[in-house]
């Protein structure tokens, strides 16, 4: 697959969810994203992240939340993030990671980041952070 000739920062879904979740606000992640923007990075994630944000919103749904509010939350979480469609190359790449504690969804995110040629990967997940460092992806700015 031809890689994107831009500086790419891949965002894990937990970073996207922290944008709409008040108790997960992290100054460090906000700082990294700000740095990434200043340095001209483009933010990417997988369509899987869009699904995970939706699942998160369904899990936290309340009778008062309208469909419009649901959509607004989702848009807020994903704002400024280009999404990459999954393909078999990404799934194959995901299946080759040997880290024993890396979950299936985590490995898909990691495989997608590698497939599009990301140099940075932002996540709040410790296992995934370790795996990113092992494969040579920067996890901070």
């Amino acid at each position: 697959m031809k890689k994107i000739e831009q500086q790419i920062c891949y965002l894990d879904s937990n970073v996207l969810i922290s944008r709409i979740s008040p108790e997960r606000r992290s100054d460090l992640i906000a700082h990294y994203l700000q740095q990434g923007r200043l340095q001209g990075f483009t933010f990417f994630s997988s369509v899987l992240a869009s699904l995970e944000v939706s699942r998160f919103l369904h899990r936290t749904n309340t009778p008062e939340r309208t469909q419009k509010q649901f959509q607004e939350h989702k848009t807020d979480a994903l704002a400024g993030t280009e999404l990459v469609r999954l393909n078999s190359q990404m799934l194959t790449s995901a299946s080759t990671f040997t880290f024993p504690h890396l979950g299936s969804l985590d490995s898909i995110h990691l495989g997608t980041a590698q497939a599009i040629g990301a140099s940075h990967f932002l996540t709040n997940d410790k296992q995934l952070l370790r795996a990113c460092e092992e494969v040579g992806l920067a996890t901070s700015f």
């Binding site: 031809k2 937990n14 008040p22 997960r24 906000a30 933010f43 848009t75 400024g80 999404l83 969804l105």
Partner: protein
């Protein structure tokens, strides 16, 4: 006589409102096309059975949606879904309200759990 006049005025008023609402909902614009493009559009309209306006609207919508993709190599454009909105503020002004006693971390951990 007065009643008829009132009824007519109210009808006019409603029509004016309707026009005003319609105008605010749908922006109108004049589009100048070259002769050849106008001919092609007319031919396409006949072929598809869609009005020329409808075709022009569809074409503009598609262009606007995919304009951002032009900065990526053509080979991978089909794989990218452009962001719906610019980045803006990092944190949402209207965060979600979580059910009592539940944290986002717990939800995320649960969502990320592999199937057994």
């Amino acid at each position: 006589m007065r009643r008829i006049k009132d009824a007519l005025m109210s009808q006019l008023h409603t029509k004016a409102n309707r026009y005003r609402n319609w105008y605010h909902l749908f922006m109108s614009m004049n589009l100048r096309l070259s002769e050849s493009l106008a001919k092609s559009l007319k031919a396409l309209s006949k072929e598809t059975g869609k009005s020329q306006q409808e075709l022009a609207r569809e074409a503009i919508a598609e262009y606007v949606t995919h304009y951002k993709l032009l900065r990526f190599p053509p080979e991978i454009r089909h794989m990218i879904i452009p962001a719906e909105r610019e980045f803006g503020e990092f944190y949402s002004e209207n965060p979600v309200t979580l059910p009592p006693g539940v944290t986002s971390d717990e939800i995320m951990r649960d969502l990320r759990k592999d199937r057994l």
